[in-house]
């Protein structure tokens, strides 16, 4: 293997381009590709095969679909460095390919394209379907086409074209490459039995609260219990820096107690982001309730987050404990927005509150904040929650 180098962001030159040889539309070519080169980029920018379209770059739209070794793949999600030795077929190719010739004719006959943006990917997918499916079943074809978005034709012509070519293939006695059929099993029941004890305990999430969404805002309400009396908890909570310290990854760079600026580092699966922002804080001693509003942007400004966190401290079940009613309202716009699914938020909020409560309990007991192993797991939510901690100045 190549020896690992520690890469700093401005020594792109230090990363060696990798040599690859590939066959595109029957022609062999050699390339030196920097590791971040996508197959789509190689096809379009180096080989000038611009029929392969790029749109979503997330695998959703299918416009970039090409055939690699006879199978459709997303060229936006395939790195050129992984392509040494492969054969690629793009719309410009398939010369003399019987099924593709028939598909092109059938697409024309059925008015299966208008603007044509989706067409290269549609034809690659269609080529796979007419080769693979054993019957021209419309429902199956429509299912399989769900990974190719067409904004113009409404699929009627495309589906019709594919069905026709499957029928033509059958007439030509070209056998389908369909895999062995899945056995169809009818529901058949079974004789009652005593289940062996399932060793796996169902994780019972302790969350008390709800998550809803409204006009793009996600609203989370939770009740959490702290092992300290309300007075102590309130003293802790009305001091912004001490609360911020309990939120792993968060850092207040400046604050006068009422307004603040800062940042928060986020890791969420393979995602890492850093949000910068500012906000305001108010606390009301009479009602023991406080509110933080904030707004932030991630590095590169690809996502904006804004939100509001409100909390009220009550006595818990015993005077020695407190119950804190927490409510978050937030909105994420931009690329991170897609991770703002309410049910994801739900699970994460509970995890984060768990860490936060543990930290608050530790601090209130005069101890130190646990070095959060959460830093690796702290999620977008951490950013989101910290979103509340910042708002335009």
């Amino acid at each position: 293997m190549t020896a690992h180098r520690q890469i700093t962001r401005n020594d792109a030159d230090a990363i060696k381009p990798l040599p690859i040889r590939l066959t595109v539309n029957g022609e062999i070519s050699d390339h030196l590709v920097p590791p971040r080169t996508q197959l789509a980029e190689l096809l379009r920018d180096r080989l000038h095969l611009t029929a392969t379209h790029l749109a979503c770059e997330q695998g959703v739209c299918g416009a970039c679909t090409v055939m690699v070794d006879g199978r459709p793949v997303r060229s936006c999600l395939t790195f050129a460095a992984d392509c040494d030795g492969i054969e690629v077929e793009t719309l410009e190719g398939w010369q003399g390919d019987e099924l593709m010739d028939r598909l092109r004719a059938a697409f024309t006959r059925n008015h299966a394209l208008q603007c044509g943006f989706c067409t290269p990917g549609m034809l690659a997918t269609a080529r796979d379907l007419v080769e693979r499916l054993d019957t021209p079943d419309e429902a199956r074809i429509r299912n399989e086409l769900s990974g190719n978005l067409c904004r113009c034709t409404g699929y009627v012509g495309i589906v019709g074209a594919i069905r026709e070519v499957i029928e033509e293939r059958d007439a030509l006695r070209i056998p389908p490459k369909s895999p062995p059929a899945l056995p169809r099993i009818a529901a058949q029941g079974f004789a009652p039995f005593t289940a062996r004890a399932d060793e796996v305990a169902s994780a019972a999430p302790a969350a008390l609260g709800e998550t809803t969404s409204e006009n793009g805002w996600t609203i989370v309400r939770r009740k959490v219990t702290l092992d300290h009396p309300p007075k102590a908890v309130w003293t802790h909570f009305r001091d912004l820096p001490s609360v911020a310290r309990c939120l792993p990854g968060a850092d207040l760079s400046e604050t006068d107690g009422k307004t603040f600026a800062g940042h928060v580092g986020v890791r969420f699966g393979p995602i890492s982001a850093r949000f910068e922002g500012a906000g305001e804080f108010t606390a009301d001693d009479a009602t023991q309730s406080g509110q933080v509003t904030g707004r932030g942007k991630d590095r590169g400004g690809q996502s904006n987050v804004e939100g509001q966190l409100a909390f009220t401290v009550h006595e818990g079940e015993t005077p020695a404990t407190s119950q804190v009613d927490v409510s978050f309202r937030f909105r994420i716009e931009g690329v991170l927005g897609q991770f703002n699914r309410p049910e994801l938020v739900n699970g994460l909020v509970d995890y984060i509150l768990g860490e936060f409560v543990a930290n608050c309990n530790a601090v209130l007991s005069g101890g130190e904040i646990r070095e959060s192993k959460g830093v690796s797991a702290w999620a977008v939510l951490r950013a989101v929650i910290m979103g509340f901690f910042r708002r335009k100045g």
Partner: protein, 273 residues
């Protein structure tokens, strides 16, 4: 968008791969989840460590009463039963429902489980099938861990830093299991809004009913499962709703309805009306 710069390594041994990961590299299976994040620059690893060239990663075999899927086996190969042994029908059914064929041609079973998206299919299906993972760390130590319990929450697993999944193992008996799998999505190939999975293997007294796409780890409904085994009857919809309500308090009513429906329909596949 083009990803931020990274180095791309193609180690051919597990040791080399683990060494590269220990130095901060990011593992890549099929790149079908990591790729979008790189393209969006949400992920900016210094190096990407491709795992597919490691021996055994793409094997499918059967040994000692177990079906062993290399972590790098693609969804499409499972869908097509593209191997020398017969795969349990449930695996093939689940594989076909993942994303789109072009994505299935590259996405891997190990990558999907490591990624631990709550709405993904394998994590729920493999939990229901009582599958085990084989993990390997940089010191060359192997450990086994049940898929049930492997996921800790959204995108969080028991995978230690620098550890990889090398294979997923299922008891061969599962070939004969009664099974039901039902997912509800807004659009074919999307991540699920709700997943119901049921596996019953009466002769080993095994039953597992799983609610997936909970937003966190799959939920095993142990009590309801035991009741289904003891009665061999479909539970009433209300019983499913209650079981979910008890285990996932505060669930949004729409989500609760979708999850109830998914479970009800997966049970219907096993137990006739």
């Amino acid at each position: 968008m083009k990803p931020a710069i990274f180095d791309h390594l193609h180690p051919t041994t597990t040791q080399d791969a683990l060494k590269a990961l220990a130095m901060g590299g990011k593992a890549m299976g099929g790149g079908q989840s990591l790729g979008p994040m790189l393209n969006l620059r949400l992920a900016r690893p210094d190096s990407v460590v491709g795992l597919s060239a490691i021996p055994g990663m793409t094997d499918i075999r059967e040994e000692r009463g177990k079906i062993i899927l290399g972590a790098g086996v693609t969804h499409a190969r499972i869908e097509d039963n593209d191997c020398a042994i017969d795969l349990p029908p449930m695996l093939r059914h689940v594989a076909r429902g993942i994303a789109y064929r072009a994505v299935r041609n590259r996405g891997t079973v190990g990558g999907s489980i490591a990624h631990a998206d709550p709405a993904a299919d394998w994590i729920s299906a493999m939990t229901a099938l009582d599958a085990e993972l084989v993990l390997q760390d940089g010191a060359g130590k192997q450990r086994r861990i049940a898929v049930a319990g492997f996921m800790l929450g959204a995108y969080r697993t028991q995978l230690a830093p620098g550890e990889i999944i090398t294979s997923v193992e299922i008891r061969s008996q599962m070939r004969d299991a009664h099974w039901g799998y039902y997912k509800i999505c807004r659009k074919v190939g999307e991540f699920a809004d709700a997943i119901g999975a049921l596996v019953i293997h009466p002769s080993s007294r095994f039953i597992r009913l799983v609610a997936g796409a909970t937003g966190a780890q799959p939920l095993i409904l142990t009590q309801l499962g035991a009741e289904i085994a003891a009665s061999a009857q479909r539970p009433r919809e209300q019983a499913i709703r209650d079981a979910l309500g008890t285990n996932l308090p505060g669930l949004d009513p729409v989500k609760l309805h979708l999850m109830t429906t998914a479970l009800d329909r997966c049970i219907q596949k096993v137990i006739p009306a």
